[in-house]
Symmetry: C2
Subunit: 291 residues, 2 copies
């Protein structure tokens, strides 16, 4: 039903549309055991994969996990990892239906497959559905996870940011609040600029972002003061968070629990308008692992 | 519908039973790039995961893949890997619906999720369905892959065995021939003795295997002569093959394309009767990676 390239795939079984995704979290890339507890790793893996289902306007229901590890760890370690997976599943009323464990050669890796369905026979929300004249919306605030990672690695005390990195939560709470109203949607797992470019490309529209309207966490501002960076650099290029970026009509926007950060215009690419009203092209900081 | 512990999980979507599995092939464990081509790795990953669906009496239909790699390789390498995945999907008329790629810290790893359904509204075939008075059946011959692996690693010339290791094929061809008639089923991916023990435990029956009836590949016999080992040791403890082990009634057995290798008795465990009629307990050579 939905081909490759969106957050998740949609396939038809009889009269049912089934939404499928697989996503991995990898030691040294998505988490470090220097500061993640095994519970936090297990939970993060579930949240990351479930978020791809939610970004389709769908409800995650079943989980299969695949655990690979290089170094053998204690039974307590694996029990804690499983507890993290199970708690996150329980939070979203998802059922863990299977999985497998293999000893590999690298670090700890968790691959999660999440299967879901779209409530009330709605259609999946694709990346390609943004229309000229609509507005761009963002749930919550992004950038905190990236700042938290840097703070944890540098031994800096920013507990709110550290928690944003260690315990990201997907927006399971917004499935029914946002899903029925979004014309296009994606989750912000690779940083805002990269995700804006995905929506722009797939929908063949230009997105214009008003930087003064992007909500920025006050701890991200404080962190940026500390590092001397522009706080928006963390917002644009951070990732590992599961807020939803979507488009909708201006009328619907007012009633939705998200910030209006821009508009959908005809054209291509993404532009950012700064607080002085100057517009510039926003670079796509995402990258393809195979290039 | 079917809880954790079988080859695959079965979940209900509306009126449809959907069968799900995830399985990984890992460099250094399930394959070596010293002798596997990337096409062969891609194909093996698909065959291994699809086999778990087939062992439920179900038809594999959709595939999601997750590729993790440590060392970056050439674009040609990844193209060949993808070609292997696609060819194997095409062979079984499966549709590749998505996937993701991540750079990890270890070797090459492919995690495959396969989703399928059970033809003609049949019920899934579980490991727990064997009944006293039935017979034990095996499709094809096992042990060749394990011998092939040893031959490849030792530089020995056994081309048929090498091919069995490099290009294992799941029994997609037997879904409709065996599925409707099997009372319990499992695929032989971890060696025959381990799989016999799974069926015995899950069905709470004793299995008695007549060793004279186990078909053994003539090249496995020739290889065993070369190494001085008992050819049955490869059959029992080999793996990485996707033949089907199942139980059915004695009457049905005659018409099925598989060898009758034993009987289902009341009791527990697995016994092997050798060509002299002596019976011994067959050890469970499978192992749990976390113990």
């Amino acid at each position: 039903v939905v081909p490759r390239g969106d957050d998740a795939a949609v396939v038809q079984f009889g009269s049912e549309q089934v939404v499928l995704t697989t996503d991995s979290v990898i030691e040294g890339r998505h988490f470090s055991l220097a500061y993640f507890s095994p519970e936090q790793v297990g939970a993060k893996a579930v949240e990351a994969a479930a978020s791809d289902i939610i970004a389709m306007g769908a409800r995650p229901q079943y989980v299969l996990w695949s655990l690979m590890f290089g170094e053998k760890r204690s039974p307590e370690f694996y029990a804690a990892l499983a507890r993290g997976v199970e708690r996150s599943c329980a939070r979203m009323k998802m059922v863990l239906v299977g999985g497998n464990v293999t000893q590999g050669s690298g670090g700890l890796e968790l691959s999660m497959t999440v299967v879901g369905s779209i409530p009330d026979k709605r259609q999946p929300v694709l990346r390609s559905g943004a229309r000229v004249g609509e507005v761009v919306m963002l749930t919550g605030m992004v950038g905190a996870s990236e700042c938290g990672r840097i703070a944890l690695q540098g031994g800096l005390e920013f507990p709110d940011l550290a928690r944003a990195h260690l315990e990201p939560r997907c927006r399971f709470d917004l499935i029914d609040k946002i899903g029925p109203h979004a014309s296009s949607m994606i989750d912000v797992s690779d940083g805002l600029s990269s995700e804006l470019h995905h929506l722009s490309r797939e929908s063949q529209v230009k997105l214009i972002i008003d930087e003064s309207k992007i909500p920025v966490h006050q701890e991200v501002r404080r962190f940026a003061t500390h590092t001397g960076a522009d706080p928006l650099s963390y917002v644009y290029s951070g990732g590992e968070e599961y807020q939803l970026l979507f488009t909708t009509s201006a009328e619907r926007a007012e009633r939705l629990p998200a910030a209006l950060i821009g508009t959908v215009e005809s054209g291509a690419g993404v532009a950012a308008r700064n607080t002085n009203g100057e517009e510039r092209v926003l670079a796509d900081s995402g990258y393809d692992h195979l290039r």
